[in-house]
Assembly symmetry: none
Homo-oligomer: 203 residues x 4
Amino acid sequence: MVKISNRRERKKRDSKNAIIEAAVTLFAQKGYNDTSIAEIMSEADLGLGTFYNYFQSKEEILKHFLAEITLNINQSYTKLLQEPRPAAEVLSEMFLLTGRILDQNRFVLPLFLSAAARGAGGKPHAPSPGRLTFKSIFLSIIQDGQAKGEFRSDIPAEVITEMFHAVFQAASFSSLDIGFMENIEYKLKIILTGLAAGGRQPG
Amino acid sequence: MVKISNRRERKKRDSKNAIIEAAVTLFAQKGYNDTSIAEIMSEADLGLGTFYNYFQSKEEILKHFLAEITLNINQSYTKLLQEPRPAAEVLSEMFLLTGRILDQNRFVLPLFLSAAARGAGGKPHAPSPGRLTFKSIFLSIIQDGQAKGEFRSDIPAEVITEMFHAVFQAASFSSLDIGFMENIEYKLKIILTGLAAGGRQPG
Amino acid sequence: MVKISNRRERKKRDSKNAIIEAAVTLFAQKGYNDTSIAEIMSEADLGLGTFYNYFQSKEEILKHFLAEITLNINQSYTKLLQEPRPAAEVLSEMFLLTGRILDQNRFVLPLFLSAAARGAGGKPHAPSPGRLTFKSIFLSIIQDGQAKGEFRSDIPAEVITEMFHAVFQAASFSSLDIGFMENIEYKLKIILTGLAAGGRQPG
Amino acid sequence: MVKISNRRERKKRDSKNAIIEAAVTLFAQKGYNDTSIAEIMSEADLGLGTFYNYFQSKEEILKHFLAEITLNINQSYTKLLQEPRPAAEVLSEMFLLTGRILDQNRFVLPLFLSAAARGAGGKPHAPSPGRLTFKSIFLSIIQDGQAKGEFRSDIPAEVITEMFHAVFQAASFSSLDIGFMENIEYKLKIILTGLAAGGRQPG
DNA sequence: CATGAATGAGGCTTCATTCAT
DNA sequence: CATGAATGAAGCCTCATTCAT
C-alpha cells in the first residue's frame, strides 16, 4: 500500500543524481553560462526533456546548489558556536569548514561573482539565493574578536570579512599544484598574523 | 540640419576609441557575456557593421583590453624596478599602481575568472590573453623579499602572489561603500603585517 | 491513511468520466490548445499515462465531445419532428434546445472555428468530426418554412442557417452580463421577425 | 545627405511586406496559433532571424494587424458620421464598410474569439489590442436609432450589437460558395427587417 | 488497467557575423 | 570606411506520446 514500487523510486533518484553530477562537472569545467542543458543531459546520458522533470528551469538547478551549500554552512555554524572559545580559533575552524564545503562545489564562486558584477540593476530573476549568510557569520566573529582585543581594530570588520571571501575565490581558481585546502590554510596563516592585535608593520 | 548632431563630434576621437569606450562602459555595467555588439555600437553611436572594421570578433576586443592592461602594468614595472628599494616598498607601490589600473577596468576580473573557470579544456578560441604577466612580476618581488629576509618564508611565494590577486578581485565586487582604492589599502595593510619576517601567530 | 483520500471516491464514476469532466472544465477555461494532457489528468486526479488507456490522442477526446453533442442533437431532432407544426415553432424549439446543449459545452465553438479557419488544407489528422449535422437539420426546417410560405424566400436557406450558427457563437463569447440562454432568445426574436414572410424593410 | 540610399530602403520595405503578406496568408489558412514563425519566414522566402528585424515577437505582428484594422475602421467612422442621416442607413453603410475591411483580414476573427474565450484570466501578455472600438460605434448608432423610434426597443442595444459582430464571424468562416460581402448583405437584410420598429412577430 | 519517468521534435527568441551598398 | 539588413546556429523550454513496471 505504501511503497508503490521501489525500482521506480530508485531510478528516479538515480536520474536526479546523474543530472546533478553532470551539472556540477560541467559548471566546474565551463561555468554556468557556458554550459547548456543539452550538454548536461548528454553528460548525464538522459534525454533533453528529462531535465525538466527534475528542475523547472536552468536557474532552478543553480538555486538547488546554493540552497544546499547554505544549509550545510548554517548547520555547521550552529554547532561551532555552541561553546565559547577565542575568536581566532572559532574563525579558523569556521574558515576551514567553509573551505571544505566550497571545495566540493567550486563552480559556485563564479556565480556569486557574476551576480555581484551585475549589481543591483541586474535581471529580475537573477540567481539571488537569499544571500549566502556566511558573510554575516564571519562578520560577527571578527567583530567579537575586535571587541575582545584579540584583533586589531584599525581595519573595518567588513573589509576583513571580504578578505576571507577573497581567499576562497582565489583558491577556487588557483592554478597552483597544491590542493585547495592547503592553499587556503597558507592564506589563513597570513591573515591571522596580520590581524593579531599587537602586530604593526614597521612602516 | 539640426538632427544629424551627435554623429558629428565623433570625428575627433575616431571610431575605434568610441567603440572601446562604449565597450568598457557596458562590460562594466553588464558583464562581457550579457553585452551584445549591437548594444556596444549603439552606445558608440555607430553602425553595427562598423565594429568589424576594427575588431575581428567579439573576443578580439577583449584581447585588446587585456593587452592594454598588460602593457600598462609592464611599463610601470620597468620604471619601478629602476632603483633598488625594500621589497615591501616596491610591493606596495606595485600593488597600488595595479589597483589604480584595475579600478578603471573593473570588468576584466570576471573575465579572468571565467577564463580560469573554463580551465585548459575551454573553447578553441578561448580568450587566452598571453597570460597577464603581473603574476610573474609580483612573484619575483616577493621571492626577492623572501631572499632578503624581509618576508617570512614559510609560505610559498606563489601563494602570496595569489593572495594579492584575490584582493583585487574582492575589491572589484565589493558592496561596501568605501572606494576601491581605500578597500585595497586596508587589505594591503593586513597582508604586509602578515608577511613581515618576525611575525608568527601565537597558535 | 487519511491522505490517500481523493483517489478513493473516483471508482464510482470510472476514470473515463473523470477525464472527460476534467477536459470539459479546462477546455472551457483555457481552450483546447492551451490545455495540456498533464493538466487534464491532474485535474482528473489520475496518472498522466492513464489518459492513453481511454483516448488514442489528444484529438481523440475532442472527437468524443463532438460526437456526443451531435448524438444529443440528433436525438432531439428526431423527437421534435415527430408531429407536424409550424416551421417557426419547430425552429424555435430546435434552436433553444441546441442552445441548451451548447451552453454546457461552450468550449467547442472555438474548435469549430479554428477547424473551419484551417479550411480544407489543414493537418492530416485534422479534427474533422464528420460535420456536425445540425446545419442540415436547421437547413431542412428553414427550407420547409420557405416552401410553406411561412418564411421569406429572398434569402437563401443556407445563409439563414449560418445566421443561427452565428448567434450561438456570439453568445458563447459574449461579455454581456446576461445569461447564454437569455442572450440567444433575444437574437432569436430578431431573426424570426426578420424572417417572417410579409416582412420587407422600407428601403 | 538626406537620402542615405534608396535601394536599401526599398528592399527593407519589400521584406517587411513579404513578411506581412506571408503572415496574413498563413494566419488565414491555419490560424495564428498553428502558424510558426519558421513557416512565415519560409513562405516569405527569408531567413528565420530576419523576422525579428521587423517585429519584436510573434505577438507583435498580431498587434500590427489589429492596430491597422482599428485605424481603418475609426477613420471611416469619422467620415460616416459627418452628416446626419437615418440610423438604418448609417448602420448599413458602417456595416458594409466594416465588412469590406474584415474581408481582407479574415484571419483576425479567430484571434478575437480565442482571446475572448480565454476570458479575463488569460495570459498576462494576451493580445488584447486596446479593444477594437467598432463595438462602441455600432452600439451608439443603434441606441440612436432606438431613441429616434426607428428601431424596436424591446431588445437591448448591446445584444443587437453582438448580433452584427456575429454576422461577421459567421461570414468569415462560411463554407457557402457565395462571397463574403454577398453573405453579409443577406444577413443585414434579415436583421434590419427584424429591427424595424413596427415589426413584431406573430407569436 | 494505472502509472509517471523518459523522450525529442518543435516552437520562440537572441546574437555574432557577413556582405552588398 | 560606414552601414544595417540578412542569416542561421544555438539556447531554453513545452508537451504529446511511449513504455516498462
